[in-house]
Symmetry: C2
Subunit: 208 residues, 2 copies
């Protein structure tokens, strides 16, 4: 994840660049910087393509040109190791009662490939900068609730999304950052068998 210090409100409340920028990588990078600031300040719904483009000093059409829209720009601004939309489209099809196993399998593959150093940096960034935490909060609400839980959860999708978040963040933290054995070295099969029933209860089981 990028350095989020630039998203502090007092530094970003006014556009940093007013002139039109040249095309190419500069425009893309400027849009990402601007998106992190505007999403953090206004949330997903409040952040308009126009406001992000204005902050970046480029034409609003550049958002579609470089990212294909507001949602892909949001995902790119999170700088996650894998595009969650792609990952979710892979795991959603199939029996909803085995969704937790598919989610865990997909996440473990991604996290193992990402490596402990990058995951530590990501968690550190989230813990130290409210802007990063705000973006991730939006991500949980928008992606987990709207795409996953609306499709499978019988009730209370927002509460279920946050409960799933506790299990998945905690698993990443203990396995990759704290590296506590035997979980740090356990194979995927063992972890999925141990954790999937709990995650599945948060997804589709009875809640109080």
């Amino acid at each position: 994840m990028k350095d989020w210090a630039g998203a502090a409100p007092d530094e970003t409340s006014a556009p940093r660049r007013r002139g039109r920028r040249p095309g190419g990588g500069d425009t893309r990078a400027a849009l990402l910087d601007a998106a992190r600031a505007v999403f953090a300040e206004r949330g997903y719904d409040g952040a308009t393509v126009r406001a992000i483009a204005e902050r970046a000093g480029v034409d609003p059409a550049m958002v579609n040109h470089w990212f294909g829209g507001k949602e892909p720009l949001f995902v790119a601004a999170l700088d996650l190791p894998v595009d969650p939309a792609t990952a979710l489209n892979e795991v959603l099809p199939g029996d909803p009662e085995h969704l937790a196993e598919r989610i865990l399998s997909r996440f473990l593959q991604t996290w193992d490939a990402t490596g402990a150093a990058q995951l530590s940096t990501l968690i550190q960034s989230i813990a130290s900068h409210d802007a990063a935490a705000g973006l991730l909060r939006e991500f949980i609400t928008r992606v987990l609730v709207v795409k996953v839980l609306a499709a499978v959860a019988p009730d209370r999708p927002e509460l279920r999304a946050t409960l799933c978040g506790t299990q998945m963040f905690g698993l990443a933290f203990v396995r990759y950052v704290l590296k506590v054995e035997p979980l740090a070295s356990a194979d995927h099969e063992t972890i999925i068998a141990a954790v999937a029933p709990n995650l599945q209860r948060y997804l589709t089981g009875p809640l109080p």
Copy 2:
């Protein structure tokens, strides 16, 4: 949690103070610094009272005088918001099948009183310094496994301890650091009802 940079191996591989120090707060602070370095380097079992005292430049008897032994010194070095030994002694008595509810109730009270800022700092510290992560790893293994799970878990106490860790760290992270609603504002009764069955499965339920 204190700044752990001082525990980097290249800075602490030799005693920093060789002379005997005067008594009082200086000795206590020197012992805490030395304990963080030596526990991080050697783990709980490998860290001797003698080595810690030597690193601090004080007599080994000062460890008993100021902390009452190696384990209380270890707990003090973690600088946690509450003494976990005291908290565990409060929750362990009672029906093992309701242990998760008692643990969650006790942790939520402590975390609410601690506040989001200190919890964020703690998690940031753990994510950024291997020494802090090493100490916390030791804590999970020593305290959770030995004191809690050995008393209630039918099998695989080490795996159960790490699974409990995933749920508790994740809950703290999402509620207090990410502050995702509705979990961030949920009352204790709601959280305990939602999370306790999952935590209880990790404590005493069937595992693969």
